[in-house]
Subunit: 200 residues, 2 copies
DNA sequence: GCATTAACATACAATCTGTATGTATCCTGA
DNA sequence: TCAGGATACATACAGATTGTATGTTAATGC
C-alpha cells in the first residue's frame, strides 16, 4: 500500500505545501526570530526543498508576510467575535474586544510576529493595512460609536484608535515579558475612562 | 607633510575608529535597514576594514546597539533639556517634553532605529532599559508629580508611562509616514487631558 | 493521447558573517 | 631607551545563506 503515492490535484498539492511551509515557518519564526531562521531550516521542518519554497513564495519575506497575515487575521477574528455580541452597546463591546485582544495575544509567538518582527520586516504601514483589511474595526467603531453617543469627546477617530492600539500593543508586550498584568490593565482602563469622563 | 602619518595614541585611534564606524553604520542603517546593510558596506563607508569592526565590536549587532544607544541618549537629552526648565510645574514640563520628543524624532532615521529595528533586533526590554538608563524620566516624573498634585488619579506610574510612551511612539511613526500631525497631537493631548480631567 | 504547464528537486553564483592569522604601531617596565 | 608584550588593525578563510537557473516528474487542457 503506497500511502503517499495517491494521485492529487495540483490545487491540493499547492494548498498542502503552502500550508506546511507556513506552519513550519511560523513555528521557527516565533521560536527564534525572522532573522535567525534560515530557509534551509524551514523547508527541512516542512518536509520539502527550497525549490518548493521559492516556487510558492517570491522570497523569504513573502513567506513571512503570509505567516503574519494569517496571524493578524486570526487575532482580528477573535476580537470581532467577542465584540459583535455587544453591537448595541459600544462601551461594552470595546471592553469585550479588549479582553479578547489580550487573550489572543497570549498565543505564543504572536507578540513577536505582530509587534516586533512584523513592523521591522514589513513596515508599520503594512501592519496597519493588514489590521484594516481584516476588519479589525472594534476599536475604531467602538470609539466612533461612543463619540456619537456623547460618551467621548469628538476627536479624529483614526488617529485616536491608532494611539490607543499602540498602548494595547505595548501592554501585551509587557504582560508577555512578565510584568504584572493588572497594573497594565488598570492603566489602560484609566486612559479609556479618562477619555469617556472628559466628555462630560 | 604626511598628513595622516602623525603619531597617535591608542586611545585616540580607538575613539576615532569607533566614531567613524558608528557614524557610517548609523547612516546606512537608517537609509536602508539593519538587515539590508552589510558589514562590508559599513566598513567601506567608514574607511576601514572588517578587521577593525570586529576588533572594536563583538559582532554586527553590537555595533547596532552602539548606534541605538547614542540615538536614545541624544533623544533623552533633548527631552530633559526642554523639560527641566519647568521643573516646578509638572504639567507644563510634560508638555514641553512632549514637544521636544516630537522635534527630536524628526531627525531622519530615528523612528526606524528606535521604534522599528531597535525593538526587533535588540528586544523591547533592551530599549526600555536604555530609556531608563539615559534618564528619560520626564514622562514618569511628570505623571508622578501630577498625581502628587492631585491633577491625575493615582495609578501605577511605570505602566502608565510605558503605555503613554507607546502612544507617543506611534504618533511619531504616523507623523513621519506623512499623516496629519495635528490630528495625532490632538488625539494625544485628549488622552492626557482625559487622565487629568478624570481626577476631579 | 499529447503538448503544455505546474510543482517541485538539484545545482550554482553571489554574498555575508564571524574567526583565524599575520603585521605594524604603541606602550611599559627594567 | 629599548625590548617584549599588548593593541589596533588588515588579510585570508570557512561556513552558511539567499535567490536563481536548470532539470525532472506529475497533472491538465485540447
Amino acid at each position: 500500500m503506497q500511502a503517499t503515492k495517491t494521485r492529487r490535484s495540483n490545487k491540493d498539492r499547492t494548498d498542502a505545501t503552502r500550508a506546511d511551509l507556513i506552519a513550519a515557518a511560523r513555528k521557527l519564526f516565533t521560536e527564534k526570530s525572522y532573522a535567525e531562521t534560515g530557509t534551509p531550516e524551514i523547508v527541512a521542518a516542512a518536509g520539502v526543498t527550497r525549490g518548493a519554497l521559492y516556487h510558492h513564495f517570491a522570497d523569504k519575506q513573502a513567506l513571512f508576510r503570509a505567516v503574519v497575515e494569517m496571524e493578524a487575521k486570526a487575532v482580528a477574528a477573535e476580537i470581532e467575535r467577542a465584540a459583535e455580541r455587544f453591537d448595541e452597546n459600544p462601551g461594552i463591546a470595546l471592553l469585550a474586544g479588549s479582553d479578547a485582544y489580550f487573550t489572543a495575544m497570549r498565543v505564543p509567538g504572536r507578540t513577536r510576529l505582530l509587534l516586533l518582527d512584523g513592523p521591522a520586516v514589513l513596515g508599520r504601514a503594512a501592519l496597519d493595512e493588514m489590521d484594516l483589511r481584516h476588519g479589525n474595526r472594534t476599536l475604531r467603531e467602538g470609539l466612533a460609536a461612543m463619540m456619537d453617543a456623547g460618551l467621548i469627546r469628538r476627536l479624529p477617530v483614526e488617529p485616536l484608535a491608532e494611539l490607543l492600539g499602540a498602548a494595547f500593543d505595548r501592554a501585551a508586550l509587557a504582560i508577555e515579558a512578565g510584568s504584572p498584568t493588572d497594573d497594565y490593565l488598570t492603566a489602560l482602563h484609566a486612559i479609556i475612562d479618562g477619555l469617556a469622563q472628559s466628555a462630560k
